[in-house]
Every structure is written in structure tokens, then in C-alpha cells.
Symmetry: C2
Subunit: 151 residues, 2 copies
């Protein structure tokens, strides 16, 4: 069993996509995160939903959520307008070292996939062929396979 | 709009549940994590899928996933047997400070929920009434609501 056998089609977004569209896709498909690619479809980052919120919510409000209670619905709207103008590149965390990206080659073993997911603390890993994303494996897919094997 | 209006029923597990059962539930329901409660149903931690993998995969293999490539399917089976004997309490990270738990009161505003999720970097928050978990809000639910408001 190799990464290619566990991989499923997975939504990727480009760095220059509108951030609100990316967030909408994440919400609609109930995804734990999106794979962000550069203009050559090479993986750039995984964008978790909580990172979108980090971008939206001012740092001093994150530090003291009680402050957020003071905001009304109108302010919530205003906060979200930020996503309509921002691009995905504004929202993703600063580019990390390549070895911190949750990516594996197509012929990676199940344990390689698990090791990468565990190390990077990611709910999904992108599967690559010739450096380009061909799909992804979620932690749910992986646990299911691991537990089937030992049932 | 308050936390109680966005909350959905959500799977919780007790600290003394068998870890493999928790992992199986996560896999079957495609959940980004489970809410772990103590014996009085008070929230203890959120257990993300990647944490289950961190428990399973030896630290030196996580540090160098290329090592994992050397393991065959039989070793994968062996690795997973750990989950059959372990309890959830063995798998969850050490108890964090209460304010680092992704929890909100039922009457929290949408922005309070977002602020907690952003600060704790969690894909879900537990919703509490009288200190006990009554449901949860996922980042997908929250983004959907926020984007609807601004559509």
C-alpha cells in the first residue's frame, strides 16, 4: 500500500485566488484545510481554517477573546469584508522550510505518510508526482486504513 | 447569533476509553478531532487525529520520515497495536491551561468563537453549559456563517 493508493482528489487553490473564495470552498466541502499551490502548481502551504480566522481577527482580540464579546454582528460583517479583498497569499502563514510542508511522494509507504502528518501536525498531506500535487490523504483516511489492517 | 445557535451535536470521548475506539470514531465520522471529557463530562482536551499518529509513530521516525520508508506493512500493523491497549489519556497531550482549551460558553458571540478558534489554532470548539459539553462548532460551520453574513 502506497500513498498513491490512499490519495483522493483534493481541492487546491492558487496563491492569487481571492481569500473569501478559498474560505467558502473550505466551508462548503467541510475540509480541514486547503492545499495552496504556486503558479506552477507546486505545493506552497497547507491553509487550515483556523489560519483564515487568525487573519480575520485582530491580534489583541485573539489574545483576549472576552474583547470579542464587545463586537456586535455589524462588526462581524466588517471583519469579514477583509476576506473579499485579500488574496490567499495574504492569509497563508509565511513560507516555511520545504521539509515542514505536509507533502509525500506518490510511492511513500503508509508509515511515511503517518510520520509526516505526525511531525508537521497536519490533518492532511499532499501527494506529489514530479513535484506537482496529484491528490491528498486526510488523517481520517489514514487512520481508517491503519485500523483496518489491525482489526 | 450565539454559540448555541451554531453548535451541533458532537462526539465526545472519556479519558478512559480505548484509544483505538476513539481513532476509529474519528476515521468513520471524518472528524478533525474529538472532544475528550473527564469522568464528570467536563472538557479535558481536544484530540486531533495528528496527535494519535504522534503517539503511534516513534519520535525518531517522525524526525526523519525517510526512516519510515524502511518499515514494511507488518511493522505498520505492530505500530498500530499500541492503540488497542492504550487509553485516550495516554494519547492526549499533557493537560494544558484551561484558557488554552478550545471552549466557549453557550451565549458566546460569533466573534468570540472565532477568536478562541484562531488563538488556540483549533478546527473545532466545544460549547459549554454549566461547565459541561453540549455540542461543538467546527471551523467549517463558522466560516460558512461568517461568509453568509457578508455575501
Amino acid at each position: 500500500m502506497r500513498a498513491r493508493d490512499l490519495a483522493r482528489t483534493y481541492v487546491t487553490v492558487r496563491l492569487d485566488a481571492v481569500a473569501a473564495e478559498a474560505a467558502r470552498t473550505m466551508a462548503r466541502e467541510r475540509l480541514p484545510g486547503l492545499i495552496v499551490c504556486d503558479e506552477s502548481d507546486r505545493p506552497w502551504a497547507v491553509l487550515p481554517g483556523s489560519q483564515v480566522l487568525r487573519f480575520l481577527i485582530p491580534a489583541h482580540v485573539q489574545a483576549d477573546p472576552a474583547l470579542a464579546a464587545a463586537y456586535d454582528e455589524a462588526s462581524a460583517e466588517q471583519v469579514c469584508r477583509g476576506l473579499q479583498v485579500a488574496r490567499v497569499r495574504d492569509v497563508v502563514p509565511a513560507r516555511r522550510r520545504l521539509e515542514d510542508l505536509p507533502v509525500v511522494e506518490e510511492d511513500a509507504t503508509v508509515l511515511e505518510v503517518a510520520a509526516v502528518m505526525a511531525r508537521v501536525h497536519s490533518p492532511l498531506v499532499a501527494v506529489l508526482r514530479d513535484g506537482r500535487v496529484t491528490g491528498a490523504i486526510t488523517v481520517g483516511d489514514l487512520l481508517e486504513h491503519l485500523l483496518e489492517t489491525t482489526a
